[in-house]
């Protein structure tokens, strides 16, 4: 009975995520079709925008497919040591070109020096990447999208932040309820489907970790807290 309930919940979540990804994919596909039409009409373009739109779309599809493979790991993921700094650096590098093509910029803000944390690096990487993509689309101007880490009483808080998107806990709860069924689940923050946020939330759920509203310096964003490991801190 419990197993059936779990499967039904998983299937609902999968449909929800698939709807969000499908909704998102309309955008890069529309760019491509429009560019083809404009090129046929004699306009000349740099291929960068199309390339970045395709890259962003593929990253989201990959993150969704990755979630599909780990969602069934009922015994839990194998945790290992990872450096948050290098993980975020890698995510920022992957997002940089996409951000530039949308007149946004990705910045790293790692406040202090931290030892390794116990996590599942691939899942955390996919979640941060998806979240970063959602923020780049939401911001779409010169305001930076910041990947940040800071210490709190409960551990290391790592997330994606921006100056011009103020997310509240109510908005986050509402967005989770609307995800997959509404084109714009976070209207005050973004005109987009924010599918990256929805996928990040699902990935972190498997980790398991919770995506929460957080502040970093003067910016607002979405983050998770990784509990410090006293043994690792000694390394």
């Amino acid at each position: 009975m419990a197993q059936a309930h779990h499967t039904a919940r998983e299937s609902h979540q999968s449909n929800q995520l698939l709807s969000a990804v499908a909704e998102h994919m309309k955008l890069p596909l529309l760019y491509m079709r429009q560019h083809a039409e404009l090129v046929r009409g004699g306009e000349s373009f740099s291929p960068d925008i199309i390339e970045s739109a395709a890259d962003a779309g593929m990253m989201l599809v990959d993150s969704y497919l990755y979630w599909q493979t780990i969602a069934h790991h009922t015994e839990g993921l194998d945790m290992e040591q990872a450096s948050l700094t290098s993980l975020l650096y890698d995510v920022a590098h992957s997002l940089d070109k996409i951000a530039k093509s949308q007149n946004a910029q990705v910045q790293l803000d790692i406040y202090g020096r931290y030892g390794p944390v116990m996590t599942h690096p691939k899942t955390l990487h996919a979640a941060m990447l998806s979240l970063g993509l959602a923020y780049i689309e939401a911001v779409q101007d010169d305001a930076p999208v910041v990947l940040g880490v800071h210490k709190s009483r409960w551990g290391l808080v790592t997330g994606v932040y921006s100056e011009n998107t103020a997310v509240t806990s109510d908005m986050l709860t509402c967005a989770k309820q609307l995800s997959g069924s509404a084109r714009q689940p976070m209207p005050a923050t973004s005109h987009t489907s924010m599918s990256g946020f929805i996928i990040a939330d699902a990935l972190l759920d498997v980790l398991p970790a919770k995506l929460r509203v957080a502040k970093h310096r003067r910016m607002s964003g979405l983050a998770l807290t990784l509990a410090p490991n006293p043994q690792l801190a000694l390394l």
Binding site: Q34, Q140, H191
Partner: protein, 127 residues
Amino acid sequence: MNVIIVEPDKRLASNYALALTGHGHDVRTATSAQQAIHLTDEQVPDVILLELHLKKHNGVEFLYELRSYADWQDIPVIVLSFVQPEKFISDESFLQQLGVKEFLYKPGVSLQQVTAALSRVVRPLSI
């Protein structure tokens, strides 16, 4: 024709603007409802192309704001959205009352079709 495109995605706005200027239209773009009101105030357009999904104030709020000014009651609006019309609202007359002349489903129309819709909505004055 003087056109305002209200489109939050700058890349799409740029594509629509390119297509319309190619047909000799004078195009200005806004990424938010507030910016669109400001542009309308600067110079009243012949037609507005409007995406309903905007950040903060949505397209319907923009339409209410626009129609609250006597001088802007008759500006024709073409909705160009990612939402299929039947999913957005069951009563189409609601949008018609707000001066929406056409409702185009974005992924379903080419740039050429958007340009054609403009010509249908704003016909040249016959003398």
